[in-house]
């Protein structure tokens, strides 16, 4: 009956693709929802009620280009789905009406078709500039299948990797993963097979497997997207890992800010149980394994493995020194492997295609592909997947389409609060673990934040230090006190009252924190400061010596003013100003009362482009200190 899973899956999948009624797919991952997908879906259902009451609506995950959300794909009988982006309840009604009843495909609005080649003159969506440079392995099902349909996953060769793994010995599975060159995707890039071997060899029973879905980097969402769009891929990976290390119980530690991912996981676990993929005798073999979901409670440090285990044990999430490593003494003192969501999500591919085939992609020291969340000041934001070794330039300019509003590119930040800022001059850097480390940053879990000339690098350092200082658990003093002292210095530099020696002081404290902290949080917390000091020294100097923030971000160092020559007296800023700091008569020049102004920037943003009368001007050094 088990062989029927794939057969049944294939049939149901085919029935969907070859449906004789229209099928409307709505991108309903968290990003789609934040862009308004729920209202769009409502509008789709309402419109279909009139147009084609038998048509089906399917919710899918995120295919990656979050900037184009809400995404809707329209599949006509016998045709591949056509993708439309940026939909609203109003526009989607027009799209459905045109495509389904008038036969007008709205060529100028269609982003592509979900098929290998073009159809009816519309190119493949995979040829879209954001998707074309990508290699989608881990994300292969995201945005394509309905994540609550285990049959869709079966149809796309789901659980075949597990099937193969279970037909091998655990040692052979470890060997296959070793051949794939897989390194952890959660940050440090530790070879997965090696970690597993330690745990396999460790004495102790039972053994545990933990899926780290804490995704603490604020500004990154790769793990969320994968869990929402293709939960079974991660769960299948957990089964493979558990089998290899001999674990009988698994935990998924997931942050509570991801309610949809939690819902998808719970649902998927239920389906697995029904299909004999969880519990006793998985797939009819002698392998028993079960999984429990644990919700995080809002502490960044709990992404660190020893703190994470403390949290699962019901204690304060404080890290402890290693060794002993979790592989020897982990959860409740038992041998434990902790792997990141993406590491686990990669395993089904490796087991299906074979380790050697997987290792055919990537760079010399890092094999395969990596997902990144590409965000910040870039035109096309979203979730992407590229082989290791892909140059930053390709990521930012080809996939991302370049800098928002065609501003100047200044830096890209990787690795979140543990990472650093890589300057524009290093845009040809090929992304892998070692190269990012050499540049002073880290790979981290894959957050990439693009920064432009309107981003102040001192502010960025201050931002991250605020974060780490706040999240420091307080157990060790270098981290607890050192981050606090660094933050105080950055605060005064931002205010324009920094001192000449401050840069030196920052470097010294940073070194102490790096060397003396107990866990990765403190050891890496200085990275944002050190990299900005290294690559953007002149910006620090300007803040300190001239009281000037060239990006006009540090609010104590600049003010808004209205050029009386250019002001056309349209009164837009006058009406927008939330604190009534602007005065002036219609058609006359306006002025800003500096004492009242809170520098929210609304006047600057709303001043019509034809006038461009609102300017940001430096405060003189005297104004700052006074």
């Amino acid at each position: 009956m088990e062989a029927d899973y794939w057969k049944r899956g294939a049939e149901r999948w085919k029935a969907l693709l070859e449906s004789d009624v229209p099928v409307i797919y709505v991108g309903a991952a968290s990003c789609g929802r934040a862009a308004g997908a729920a209202k769009v879906e409502e509008a789709v259902r309402a419109k279909l009620g009139d147009l084609s009451p038998t048509a089906r609506v399917v919710e899918v995950g995120c295919i990656g280009p979050c900037c184009l959300e809400p995404l809707v794909y329209v599949q006509r009988p016998g045709k591949a789905p056509i993708v439309y982006g940026d939909q609203s309840p109003e526009t989607v009604a027009v799209v459905l009406e045109s495509v389904l009843s008038k036969g007008d495909l709205l060529m100028d609005k269609a982003l592509g078709v979900l098929s290998e080649g073009a159809q009816d003159g519309i190119p493949s969506f995979y040829e879209h500039p954001m998707l074309k440079p990508q290699t989608r392995l881990v994300l292969r099902n995201c945005g394509i299948i309905d994540p609550v349909e285990i049959d869709h996953y079966f149809a796309r060769e789901g659980y075949l990797g597990l099937k193969r793994a279970l037909s091998m010995s655990p040692e052979e599975v470890v060997e296959e993963v070793r051949a794939s060159g897989l390194r952890g995707r959660g940050g440090a890039g530790f070879p997965t097979s090696q970690k597993w071997t330690f745990c396999r060899k460790a004495q102790g029973d039972p053994k545990y497997l933990i899926c780290n879905a804490d995704e603490g980097d604020p500004g990154a969402f790769m793990n969320r997207s994968l869990l929402e769009g293709d939960p079974h891929a991660v769960l299948e990976g957990m089964l493979v890992a558990a089998y290899a290390i001999g674990a009988s119980h698994g935990y998924i530690y997931i942050r509570d800010e991801y309610p949809l991912a939690i819902e998808r996981l719970s649902h998927a676990l239920q389906r697995m149980r029904e299909h004999g993929l969880l519990g006793q005798k998985v797939m009819g073999t002698g392998f028993d394994f079960d999984i429990t979901i644990k919700r995080g409670a809002g502490a960044f440090v709990c992404g660190e493995e020893t703190a994470l285990m403390a949290s699962i044990e019901g204690r304060r999430g404080m890290p402890r020194p290693r060794p002993p490593f979790p592989a020897q003494k982990g959860l409740w003192g038992k041998p434990t492997v902790i792997n990141n969501v993406e590491t686990l999500g990669t395993l089904p591919n490796i087991m299906r295609m074979g380790g050697a085939a997987y290792a055919g992609r990537g760079s010399e020291k890092a094999k395969g592909t990596k997902t990144f969340s590409l965000v910040g000041k870039v035109k096309r934001t979203g979730l992407i997947e590229v082989p290791f070794g892909t140059p930053l330039r390709k990521i930012i300019f080809d996939i991302g389409g370049g800098i928002l509003n065609d501003r100047g590119f200044k830096a890209i930040q990787s690795g979140g609060p543990s990472g650093g800022c890589i300057p524009a001059s290093m845009v040809d850097l090929e992304v892998d673990y070692e190269r990012l480390t050499q540049a002073g940053s880290i790979m981290g879990s894959g957050g990439l934040v693009v920064m432009d000339e309107d981003t102040c690098m001192v502010d960025v350092a201050h931002y991250f230090l605020t974060f780490t200082q706040n999240e420091s658990c307080g157990k060790c003093s270098p981290c607890r006190i050192g981050t606090r002292r660094m933050l105080e210095i950055l605060e005064r530099i931002k205010k324009g009252v920094g001192e000449e020696q401050d840069m030196q002081r920052l470097t010294e404290i940073a070194q102490t924190v790096k060397d003396g902290s107990l866990c990765g949080l403190g050891q890496t917390a200085p990275n944002p400061v050190l990299t900005t000091l290294r690559y953007f020294h002149d910006e620090y100097e300007e803040h300190i010596r001239d009281g000037r923030c060239r990006a006009k971000v540090c609010k104590d160092l600049f003010h808004y003013e209205i050029d009386p020559e250019k002001c056309i007296g349209c009164q837009i800023c006058f009406k927008k100003c939330p604190v009534s700091a602007i005065s002036g008569k219609p058609k006359g020049a306006h002025t800003i009362d500096q004492a009242r102004c809170v520098k929210c920037g609304l006047c600057y943003q709303s001043c019509p482009p034809k006038a461009k009368a609102v300017k940001r001007a430096d405060n003189g050094p005297d104004e700052v200190k006074g």
Binding site: A35, E257, Y463
Partner: protein, 167 residues
């Protein structure tokens, strides 16, 4: 530094006791269940008040300071009642570089409170959040369960108006 336990007293005794008892019986009394229990108690009661925490401590045979110690470690737990509408502004990196601070400032201005506070009428509370995972649509804010992306100060007004707030 996080605010330490207030001694908020529940108005109505019977229902919360029942709710806590239900949660406790569902979870059993292993220490590993402490955080899930606190999460569920907060989901039911909206915040963790002293009496509820005492019940939990008793059931798990833990000291009160142990339970407090765990609860105060995690940012998720609240010790005083939140507003009827929980407003959160994201101050994650992606939101920060795309104007998240301006969205927070607009919220503070419109609601007349600072983050961490609740309006006098109890309608709105305002919190900061480190990332909602919708970074591609930064800046992001949340009211209750409703996440909105691509926020601007003017969009803040629109959103708050839907919940009957904002001036």
């Amino acid at each position: 530094m996080r605010q330490v336990i207030g001694s908020g007293t529940p108005q109505d005794k019977a229902p919360w006791r029942e709710a806590v008892a239900r949660i406790l019986s569902r979870h059993g009394n292993e220490r590993g269940e402490l955080i899930p229990i606190l999460q569920n108690v907060q989901a039911e009661l909206d915040y963790l008040h002293r009496e509820a925490l005492e019940e939990v401590a008793r059931a798990l045979r833990l000291s009160m300071h142990d339970v407090y110690g765990v609860a105060t470690f995690y940012a998720q737990f609240r010790f005083s009642p939140p507003g009827r509408h929980k407003v959160r502004a994201c101050l994650g990196t992606a939101c920060h570089v795309r104007g998240g601070d301006d969205v927070m400032a607009a919220l503070e201005r419109r609601l007349g409170i600072r983050h961490g506070e609740t309006t006098k009428d109890g309608e709105f509370s305002l919190e900061r959040v480190a990332c909602m995972g919708c970074c591609a649509l930064a800046p992001v804010m949340v009211v209750g369960d409703e996440v909105s992306g691509r926020c601007t100060p003017s969009k803040v007004d629109e959103i708050l108006a839907r919940y009957g707030g904002g001036d």
